[in-house]
């Protein structure tokens, strides 16, 4: 009996009991749907992270006071606080003058939270940062109205501000933000540019900020030290591998800080890869836990299929007897039932996949972007078929081993 023949037979058996097949598959469908929805959320999440977080100036990296590893426990945090000095503009200049593989390097500072006022309106807890004008290029800042800072505005610590779109829309509903002055801690700043709206990432608004020239920021917010210490954003030259530029900057920093060979860096360099790697390791651990639950549903689905196949074998004992009397070998019977349970399960997997796909579209539309990778779909179908075959193994073996005489005698 060839494969096409067996497949046709399996399909006919499944279709002969449509309702029963469907009910049998419910567990499988729900399990597969849950599995795929969770997986698509995770995939969507990581694609989202790559795009929205790591993707920000993905050709740039930062030099900062601490390394990721410094935060692993309180001891290493304390040690790093002693060892790692704040970055300085001297160091920035040192790198700027000597680096060959770097196209731009600029300093940023801050993230201080302050209330921003215009007239009687107040926006609470707005993020205030300082940046060198070159950051406009490095961060590839999208200016909707106005412009970014100029060197002279920075050098003269002028009270000018580049703001997120929330500031302009909330404080200036008339749309006259550009050129007007906002008040931060009693000091007025003239708005010279507004960024294109960026939306939110994980509920964090990204349009609720005021950026000042870094020297202005230093002068008016208590100096560029402690949490307001500068960090450098570096962009590698076109055609230069980021890793090479990172190496160069690290070497220059070590030279500048006179670190002997073998001693650990007393500063940190963070690349987009490191960020997505960090997030990736989170999502992986998270995935294992969160996929475990639908995994159990799949297992229950498999047990239900095994159960119904056992019922089917009992019900069709007579049929098995007839087939055997007509010359079906054990392998023919075995294959017939294995195909049936495999196909049944694969249909369940497919239905689950379709359902997950539909749910994914709905979730993407209303809640959160999701993504079912094509490989996951292929794996889902194969896994469900494999699960079905596995679940069918015992029932099929029972069927194949039936004594033809006994089987023919069954009702």
């Amino acid at each position: 009996m060839n494969l096409a023949e067996t497949l046709k037979l399996a399909l006919a058996s499944i279709m002969a009991h449509k309702l029963r097949s469907f009910l049998t598959l419910l567990g499988m469908i729900i399990g597969m749907t849950a599995f795929m929805v969770v997986l698509s959320l995770l995939q969507g999440f990581s694609a989202y992270v790559d795009e929205k977080i790591a993707g920000i100036g993905s050709s740039s990296f930062t030099v900062q006071r601490f390394n990721f590893e410094d935060f692993k426990d309180t001891d290493s945090i304390a040690a790093a606080q002693r060892r790692n000095k704040e970055l300085t503009f001297d160091e920035l200049d040192f790198i700027k003058e000597r680096a060959q593989l770097v196209s731009y390097i600029g300093a940023k500072a801050g993230n201080t939270s302050r209330d921003v006022r215009y007239g009687t309106e107040t926006l609470a807890e707005v993020s205030i940062t300082g940046a060198e004008p070159v950051i406009g290029i490095i961060d590839n800042i999208d200016v909707e109205y106005g412009r970014y800072f100029t060197e002279s505005e920075n050098n003269n610590s002028m009270r000018v501000a580049f703001v997120g779109s929330d500031i302009s829309t909330k404080l200036f509903p008339q749309g006259d933000a550009l050129g007007n002055e906002i008040m931060i801690s009693g000091i007025p700043y003239r708005i010279i540019g507004i960024q294109v709206a960026k939306g939110t990432v994980f509920g964090q608004p990204r349009d609720n900020f005021v950026q000042l020239p870094i020297k202005t920021f230093g002068a008016n917010f208590g100096g560029l030290k402690w949490q307001r210490a500068p960090y450098f954003v570096v962009m590698a030259k076109d055609g230069v591998k980021m890793a090479d530029a990172v190496d160069e900057v690290r070497t220059l920093m070590r030279i500048k800080r006179k670190l002997p060979t073998g001693e650990k860096d007393n500063f940190g360099i963070v690349t987009p890869d490191a960020i997505s790697g960090l997030i990736g390791s989170f999502t992986r651990a998270f995935s294992i836990v969160i996929l475990f639950v639908p995994g159990i549903a799949l297992m229950v689905g498999a047990i239900v299929i095994m159960n119904i196949m056992l019922v089917a074998v009992t019900e069709r004992t007579k049929e098995i007897g007839i087939r055997k009397s007509l010359g079906a070998r054990q392998a023919d019977i075995l294959r017939q039932f294995l195909f049936e349970s495999g196909l049944l399960s694969a249909i369940g997997g497919l239905m689950g996949l379709i359902l997950a796909f539909v749910l994914g579209i709905i979730i993407t539309k209303f809640v959160f972007p999701t993504k079912i990778p094509w490989w996951a779909a292929v794996i889902a179908i194969s896994v469900s078929a494999a699960v079905g075959i596995l679940a069918g193994l015992f029932p099929a073996w029972k069927a194949a081993k039936l004594d033809p005489i006994e089987a023919l005698r069954a009702d």
Partner: protein, 250 residues
Amino acid sequence: MYRFMENENGNSEPAFQPQTSTGEGLITMKNIWKTYQMGVEELHALRDVTFRVNKGEYLAIIGPSGSGKSTLMNLIGCLDSPSKGEYWINGNLVSKMTDDELAHIRNKEIGFVFQTFNLLARATALHNVELPLIYAGMRAGERNEKAQAALASVELGDRVGHKPNELSGGQRQRVAIARALVNHPSILLADEPTGALDSKTSVEIMALFEKLHAEGNTIIVVTHEHEVAERAHRVITIRDGQIEKDEKIR
């Protein structure tokens, strides 16, 4: 004319002599025993059965229930293996075969006709007839042709697409006969073929058997009905697991 006699006493019967007819031996059973273990007791369903069937014979096996005739039928049909003895069918030593080899022999050499027809309820007449050919590994096109022809030969050429529940009892048995013959087996083995049919239909089916015999098929009918046995050309009577009588009646 043969008169079937139920042998009440069996004491005066002469011991069975193996028939030694001339011609090609299609089936040979030599000293066949079938023993079932019932706890500590051994139950001999067949004891030392020996006979031969030649090609083209029309044989009836008759006996009361519990006589061992069903066991003998299962052995002839290769559904079971003897405990002892040799069974040859068409040159194959069946008694030592594995389950899968037996399946192959059933497919090639035996055409079963059952009392309750044993058709697959969900399948059409055509598909039912195709089944032995499917297990023989025949391609779809050729299979279809042969099955159509087999159904036409039992005058069901216009019922190929019908399912068993859309056919009368006689028609169902004719589908079963078509299925039995479609792979050109060595023997047509019928187990109470008219047991589930009314007398008029029974006559039709028996007439069909005679026609098939006339066309050269070897037929073995296992029955307890005298009317059915009388149609055969040779009758073997089984009692208590042994051959009591083996007579040529026409």
